[in-house]
Amino acid sequence: MTWVNAVIQGVMLGGLYALFACGLSLMFGVMKVINLAHGDLAMVAAYIALGVVTITHVPAIWSFVLVVPIFAALGYVLQRTLLQASLNRGVITTLLVTFGLSVVIENALQQFLSANSRELNIGSLVSDSFSIGSQITIAYLDLIILVVAVAVLLGLQYFLSSSRSGRMIRAVADDREAAQLAGIDYRHVFGIATAIAFGTVALAGLAYGMYTQFDPTTGTTALLLYAFEAVVIGGLGSLWGTLAGGILLGVAQQVGAQYHAADQVLAGQLLFLIILVLRPQGITSRRELA
């Protein structure tokens, strides 16, 4: 029964990882670059939420109303300036610039906000839970995060397939030159895609901040690698694959932790390497963006 519980907790955790992964997957799908500052940006969002809560006294759980739009705007501006400038230089430059950004963000957070662990205080919700049977307990917060992740993925799916901007994003992702010939300003489309990715990463950062403690180094030591692993396990370019990847990673970690507490992270990474060897295209092999 404890193993069943581990799997269920893993599925819950998978929602959080999928939330982290979908922004990374979207940016890679559209711009063909991996944003190495992804994890640190999530941490920035969590710290901004801390500030918002301190100033406005809104409950932490509602901080996303302010933080997500701020982050989306930040994403658009960053894409149109720094990231576009490095994209013009090529893929290697973009990788190096996002890596530099990651180091700068992590150290700036440490410099200005100290290296202490923080958390977003959501009162009793952090421990409230309900039980199924005698052994399985599900925390409301975990369930909320999973539901939010599924809702975000559904929303993204709908946006990409049905809205005008979504179609433009898919067109640019498929063939940039052809999309340009059809009159699309690809830089604006890149901006929109990055804004959405930043919005989701902000949401993921807030969810993480409510779920557990964080500090300036959490972004690189954990979140970036988990998000990437979820993307690869699930298969690139498939949003539902990302959810599946996140869940598999979560289950592997929880089952590993059940076996030995120190094995939690290692189990997830070994699953990632095994998938990479046996099925590098991921468990879902569709090659479309949405």
Binding site: L36, A85, L96, N107, A108
Partner: protein, 364 residues
């Protein structure tokens, strides 16, 4: 990166295709110009002086130089991998950590740490083989971040081995020399590895493989289309960098004498390699050397505040990567036309031949 590919261009603005017809019309093709000869002489003198240094200064100065040469080795390796083979890795701390732990392991079994350096280096290279098999199919960002995962896996595995000190770290045994002699030995070993590393990279780039590497640096798809064996060349370079970083890790273990997994496998190592290479000039042998000097000056002035040091370094690297992608050495080399480690060819127009004393003719 096309702007970097000037090594094969003609001196004096001649069209390179003219030279391809052969030695006709009095044109001469050479590998060097005068700056390279002076650089060679200066290098010999510099190495001699550096080798004599432990007799002149105290061990705190040689200790700093040990750090300097370790950074230089790592940055040169990363530059070879990213600047020439086009592979950006964020996980080469894996080989540094492994090199360090191999030395600890060998010393535990009674080997002198200094004798263990070449064995630990070879062992890191051997580990590089399966790693390459795993990551060779991955492109750009995927390659970079998968290397990071591999470094993390190596660390997590070593943390579980209690005979290697688990997560709390382990002291290196077998260093029985007096402190003064130990400092000097460490310095000489590090200097030797640094000289070997740079000479090795220089030799590699001047060989036939170097031509393929320069072609890959300038345009990977183009190099493949004219028959460059990109895959096997990249594998060789990857293994060389695994060896180099393994050696740097072995030296790290000896100079620290106590290693902790989180420090030995710290991504900061790779961050330093990346920033040094970008700022100095990616895709040139001189770049990492200049970069390490700049980096070291920055480190000594900002070292009181570790976070500011990283913030400044990261911002400078971002700016250089976008607005001056050839780095400091690129600017210098462009302005003055000098190349200290010439790996390309010069074509001299008729009537403007180099002096024989200084430059050997490649095609008489």
């Amino acid at each position: 990166m096309s702007a970097v590919g000037q090594d094969t261009q003609a001196a004096g603005g001649q069209h390179p295709r003219v030279a391809a017809r052969g030695p006709a019309a009095g044109r001469v093709v050479t590998r060097s110009r005068r700056s390279a000869l002076w650089a060679g002489l200066a290098a010999v003198v510099a190495i001699a002086i550096l080798g004599y240094l432990p007799y002149l200064v105290f061990s705190d100065t040689t200790g700093l130089m040990v750090q300097f040469f370790q950074l230089l080795i790592m940055a040169s390796m990363w530059n070879l991998l990213a600047g020439y083979a086009g592979l950006v890795s964020v996980g080469h701390q894996a080989f540094i950590g492994l090199g360090a732990y191999f030395v600890v392991l060998l010393a535990m079994h009674g080997l002198s740490p200094f004798t263990a350096i070449p064995i630990a280096t070879a062992a890191a290279g051997v580990v590089g083989l399966p790693v390459w098999w795993l990551v060779s199919r991955l492109r750009s960002g995927y390659f970079a971040i998968t290397m990071w995962v591999i470094a993390s896996v190596c660390m997590l595995i070593i943390i579980q081995i209690s005979s290697l000190g688990s997560g709390t770290g382990i002291a290196l045994s077998g260093l029985t020399q007096s402190p003064t002699l130990l400092a000097a030995d460490t310095y000489w070993a590090t200097l030797a590895v640094a000289v070997l590393a740079i000479a090795g990279i220089y030799a590699l780039l001047r060989s036939r493989l170097g031509l393929a590497l320069t072609a890959i640096r300038d345009d990977e798809a183009g190099a493949k289309s004219i028959g460059g064996r990109v895959g096997s060349v990249q594998r060789l370079v990857f293994l060389v960098t695994a060896l180099g970083c393994g050696a740097a890790g072995a030296l790290y273990a000896i100079s620290q004498q106590f290693i902790v997994p989180t420090a030995a496998f710290d991504v900061s190592f790779t961050a330093e390699m990346i920033f040094i290479t970008i700022i100095g000039g990616i895709g040139t042998i001189e770049g990492p050397i200049i970069g390490t000097i700049v980096f070291f000056i920055l480190q000594q002035t900002l070292s009181a505040d570790g976070t500011w040091y990283w913030i400044v370094l990261g911002l400078v690297a971002i700016a250089v990567a976008i607005w001056a992608p050839r780095g400091i050495w690129g600017l210098v080399s462009e302005k003055f036309g000098i190349r200290l480690f010439p790996v390309g060819y010069y074509v001299w127009p008729a009537g403007e031949q180099p002096r024989r004393l200084l430059a050997r003719s490649a095609r008489p």
